[in-house]
Amino acid sequence: MLEREPAAKEAVEVEIFANLFKAVADEMAWIVLRSSHTTFVKETQDFGVSLVSLEGEVFAYPYGSGATPLMGVPMHAGTKAVRDWAPGDVLITNDPYSTGGMVMHLNDIYLFRPVFAGARLLCFAWTFIHCTDVGGYAPGSIDMQNNEVFQEGLRLRPVRLYRKGELNQELWTIFADNCRIPALNWGDISACTAALARAEQRLARLAERYGFAAVTAAIGATLDRTERIARGVLGTIPRGTWRFIEYFEDDYVSDLPVRLAVAVTPGENGSVELDFRGSDPQVRAALNLPTGGMRHHPFLSIALINFVVTHSEAIHINAGILRCIDLVLPDASVVNAAFPAACGMRYTTAMRIHDLVLGALTQAMPDRVPVSGASNLVVTYISTSELGERGRVVVANPVSGGSGGSAERDGVSGTDLTVAFLRNVPVEVLETEAPVVVRRFDLNPDSEGPGKLRGGFGVQYELEIRHPSAVVVMRGKDRHRMAAWGAAGGGAAAVSGNTGLRPGLAPHEIGKQTVYRPELGEVIRLWSGGGGGYGDPTARDALLVAADVAAGLISPARAREIYGVVLAGDDVDEVATAALRAQMPARGKGFDLGLARSEWERVHGEAAERISAWLPTLPAGVRRFAEGAVYRALHAGGPGPYEGAAIEAAIAEVAEAIDCSV
């Protein structure tokens, strides 16, 4: 018999263990899903579980259920929080700032349990649930207009909820007294602790059967192998530095957009650097993403993680992928928030960063990544918490838009790639839990970014409120003006919005208000834009356009004006279509950034570059103020576009004012 090389022997061992680890994670996910109590966990599936190495790396994650974007969050702030781990301990935390960006908003309750095999610490089991309410100003705890984390609920730095299996009842009491739905939250946490205990049981059995050393070695090898595969995939990105800019069209407390910038640079050995310098300072709204300045973080890497997973068959998904993605994060910025920035809706930022990175990658390899999706998610809650004990806070639905088209396929309708794990709440379930009647949940016609491969369609959601004490919370609104972009000649999509309709009155704009107090019988209507299109829409198969028209998704006028398709009844008039397409102007092969964004950049493009370079020279605390002040100074001087001297003058004016006040 041949003596196998260690590496070759590992070729089998690692596959065996990786599957057994995944089975443990799957079982944990199943327990949480089944026995949790809140709609957000049970129906929409905003929860996660994983197995974590002693070094804090996630080595097994259930990618079939639960929330995928937290895959690979560095966990050392949890695993190293306690020195004297004992069997039966369970650590709890929901605090971004004492965990250096391991937790990213207060609604995420992380639990850790040390996994002992005999007397030795083998690894950790982890769960998180998106807790529907952790107290704070707004039902559901998140308001876009929050400007400090203190408004967002109760914070728990990493502390032991259980010591050696014994519940710290006093700690729980503090938590329970400071949130709106303590009993349901306790139900969810019980589901998580049951999953953690099961993980320990399973892993202890593995260690008993195969030996502690073999399991430990397999944990390392599982991460290493995934890293190696990821490097291979990332190594196919063309060399160069690929830049892109994205925006939130405003920051909820002013009209000033929030600018996000990235430079993507593939390096040696399949590593990729994402440099976010040039992104705006942290804002006085709940958009800030606390990442602790970590070198690896999944929330800024979703586009690349998904690229790796999409282009490698049957990869074991774990933090090995993150090892290849190096982040450069400016301090006190919207991508690396400093205490006490509000961060409740930081996932909106993660979604936009996904598209930001796609924009850069599109320039490097337009045929291998999708274009921009609707890139926002309005999570809608109904709260009757003012009723006290009888009240509830229930998630009605996550309202997202379509995903972007790509060289190979149309985008997905009604969900974006960054939230493709979220499920809707069935109307028949929601209406038994909250005093509402859902009047509509369907696709939003003509909302897609047109293209040879079009974007997915957005949705329309209408909610009639049938209780006088119901408060509706709608968080995460954006892209009411700046649409999802198209690429390679594809078009930008429609934008999103919302209105209220009171009986007998004309619809009124709700705008970006998060907490909304409807009248009894008012119908709230939310709609979302689609994903961006890929490729020239006049190159789209006319039969596909005709099918969308027949289905009522694309109007005949749009088919004609945008796609150049002329219909005769349900059928394509081929002659007229060919003639029309021949005379339509070519759209080029570049981006279509949409009207609002193109106009903003035409006027402010040069100023933005200059201001971005200047802001880091200021103290962190005044940067966003200074940025706004410069734009106000520019606007006071006329409509723009703003250039050289005018920009310098505005900066000088603000610099002087700050000098006086700091």
């Binding site: 327990i31 109590h37 809140t38 009993a183 049951a194 997202s400 069935p426 109307v427 696709l443």
Partner: protein
């Protein structure tokens, strides 16, 4: 006592299996080619073959064919669904929900893959129309149904060639009034289409899941009906006077005449009958009321099922062709690790098994088809010595070791391994995949492997069963007499089994004595009516109704099935119901909250009508002159070992085979590893037992 014989059939993609149990308990199992274009034809050809054989037997046997009880399992409906060859179905939904089938539950199957998409909607948007009218969550009317609008929608769909129309209106599971009124109106308009109601197929909350079930039913109904007509005609032509029973996904059967109304209950009947066949085999082997895991390893997948106390576990969360199935179905979990699963190295040089398969054509390299050198798990079995050169699998060509070895060498070259080492490694990986899935499946049923025993079948199940048992700490395995025909056996042994659901949707403590008693009365009456209808077509010895409730804590997402005592309902004993719920929750999830409020979502009845059965069969005594065992060198877990090789036909009741040993038979090969032994049971099954100490 009248003499009874029975027949079970299972139409698979390639072969149709038939199991015939004669009035004396003698069992025959045959395999004939399936006729995909005409699904009943294979069954009839098989029956002709069995009839020809029994023609030589005493006259009594011929008589028994006239009164034979026969049950049929097939993939007719399933294939129609997978290939989307069903009827042209249209949908009428509540206004505002035209994209119910497009949006589904929003999520895509693989959320981390940017190329993942939801399955194509079963009914395209162009064939979906809306109707005004709305019920509230408690079933009361918020807005009257627009009957004229319903007729208009029906007319528009008929104009688009829709053959069957399904109404999916919100909250029809609580109150079917709007669906029924819309049907009446559309039918009165005399449109050339059939109308079906989601509330009649399976009245359960969750509009997408309920709606899709209704649409599946409508889509496959015509195809199933014509299959049943052809089958019935062919049977009558052969002098068989009894009505056909059709296997259901719940492991039981139902007479064809009532089944044709809702063929959706038979979609997963093949795998389900396999699990219930395994339960029957275990009972015959003396494993009464056993807790069992079933392992069926075929060409493309390994399927795992669970039997508790002798009864297959039913689930309401199975999927078919990516669509959810709410109807109680024998839970079978499938992973892509079968004989045809492709062996490959990923870019980090890790040895992988599946999930892609070489398929029937070209098959594994050892089939020698057109010189294909894509290595599959069967090639590993052959090179590792689990299978023998020249052995024939499922009527295919004799296995050729040379191409198998060359195929494995394509992997070995990159790892510096011999073909044997690759084979050994691949088998270990495949077993780990099965172990991962099996431990999950068992965990989901709230049980732990060590208390379990295993029944292994399918072409490759008995090959890997003991290796898998080692991984998940199972000590006893049963290999049925005919491991390739277990679904047909399950059908032959099936009783009539129906499921009925009544929505409740109330807090358990808000139901008073009168309400519980009334619910119980209505549900039982419906269950008895089901059996009475069946009994008009077939003799039912006795019937039994098992009650259960689907319950959850306030706000919780999934239900726990709680077995109920009829007396609790009659007496309104809430405390007993809540106690049973807490116990069931603790069993399933390891915790329960005695203080939290509980909801009673629905009451269910599982009704069984026992049909007469042939006596328990006894295999014929085997020939005494067993040939001397052969020897084969195996590669197992890094070691070379020598196994004795035996013919299954030659094993006698007193033989005990100590591992390592191999038992060959027509449709499978059984591996008995070191530390295991095997012996033949009186029932004819082969029992494997672990003899060594567990480390």
């Amino acid at each position: 006592m009248t003499q009874v014989s029975s027949l079970g059939t299972d139409v698979g993609g390639t072969f149709t299996d038939l199991v015939h149990i004669d009035a004396a308990g003698g069992m025959r199992c045959i395999k004939v080619p399936s006729v995909p274009a005409e699904p009943g034809a294979g069954v009839l050809a098989g029956i002709d073959e069995l009839l020809a054989a029994s023609g030589a037997a005493p006259a009594a046997n011929r008589v028994s064919w006239r009164t034979i009880l026969h049950a049929h399992s097939s993939t007719v409906a399933t294939n129609a669904l997978i290939e989307r060859k069903g009827a042209r179905v249209g949908l009428i939904v509540t206004a505002g929900f035209r994209d119910l089938f497009e949006l589904q539950r929003l999520a895509v199957p693989h959320p981390m893959r940017s190329d993942s998409r939801r399955p194509l909607p079963l009914v395209p948007r162009a064939l979906v129309r809306e109707v005004r009218g709305r019920l509230g969550a408690d079933g009361h009317e918020l807005e009257p149904l627009d009957e004229a609008g319903a007729v208009e929608a029906g007319r528009a769909l008929a104009a688009r060639g829709v053959e069957i129309l399904v109404l999916v209106l919100l909250h029809s599971y609580r109150n079917p009034a709007h669906e029924r009124a819309a049907r009446l109106a559309i039918e009165a308009a005399g449109l050339p289409l059939r109308v079906e109601l989601s509330s009649e197929v399976w009245p359960q909350a969750r509009e997408y899941e309920r709606g899709v079930l209704g649409a599946i039913n409508a889509s496959v109904r015509g195809i199933v009906e014509s299959y049943l007509d052809r089958l019935a005609g062919g049977l009558a032509g052969r002098g068989i006077a009894t009505q056909p029973m059709i296997a259901r996904s719940n492991g039981g059967a139902e007479l064809a005449f009532s089944m044709r109304r809702h063929p959706v209950v038979a979609l997963l009947s093949g795998p389900a009958a396999g699990v219930s066949g395994a339960a029957a085999e275990a009972a015959d082997a003396g494993w009464q009321a056993a807790d069992l895991m079933t392992l069926d390893v075929g060409g493309t997948s390994a399927d795992i099922g669970v039997i508790r106390e002798g009864k297959p576990i039913l689930s309401s969360e199975e999927h078919i062709a990516e669509f959810p199935v709410l109807i109680p179905t024998i839970a079978v979990s499938s992973i892509g690790a079968g004989g045809g699963s492709i062996l490959w190295l990923d870019s980090a040089g890790t040895l992988k098994v599946g999930p892609r398969s070489v398929g029937a054509d070209p098959g594994p390299a050892c089939y020698g088809t057109r010189g294909s050198l894509v290595p599959a798990l069967t090639d590993a079995f052959l090179v590792a010595g689990f299978l023998a050169p020249g052995q024939k699998l499922g009527g295919k060509l004799p296995l050729q070791p040379e191409p198998a070895r060359r195929a494995l060498d394509t992997i070995g070259a990159r790892l510096g391994w011999t073909a044997e080492e690759v084979a050994d490694g691949a088998i270990r990986v495949a077993v780990a995949l099965m172990a991962a899935e099996a431990s999950n499946v068992l965990a989901r049923r709230g049980v732990d492997a060590p208390r379990f025993r295993m029944v292994a079948f399918g072409g490759a199940g008995p090959l890997v069963a003991a290796l898998l048992a080692e991984e998940i700490a199972i000590d006893q395995i049963l290999i049925p007499r005919f491991p390739g025909g277990l679904s047909a056996l399950g059908a032959a042994r099936a009783d009539l089994e129906g499921d009925i659901v009544t929505p409740v949707y109330r807090r358990a403590d808000s139901l008073d004595v009168g309400e519980l008693a009334r619910l119980h009365h209505d549900l039982s009456a419906e269950a008895r009516a089901w059996i009475a209808e069946q009994a008009r077509g077939i003799t039912v010895d006795r019937s039994e109704i098992l009650l259960s409730a689907e319950m959850r804590y306030d706000g919780q997402g999934y239900d726990v099935t709680v077995p109920l005592d009829a007396a609790w309902l009659e007496k309104g004993d809430n405390a007993a119901i809540l106690g049973a719920f807490a116990a069931a929750h603790r069993t399933a999830y390891g915790h329960a909250n005695e203080e939290a409020k509980a909801w009673l979502k629905e009451l269910r009845a599982h009704v069984t009508g026992r049909v007469p059965k042939p006596p328990e069969s006894v295999p014929p005594a085997t020939a005494a002159a067993a040939p001397p065992p052969g020897r084969r060198t195996l590669r197992l877990n890094g070691h070379e070992i020598t196994a004795s090789v035996h013919e299954r036909e030659a094993l006698t009741l007193d033989t005990i085979l100590a591992g390592p040993a191999i038992v060959d038979q027509l449709d499978t090969t059984t591996l008995i590893p070191p530390d295991w032994q095997a012996h033949v049971l009186i029932s004819g099954a082969l029992a494997l037992e672990r003899t060594g100490e567990r480390g």
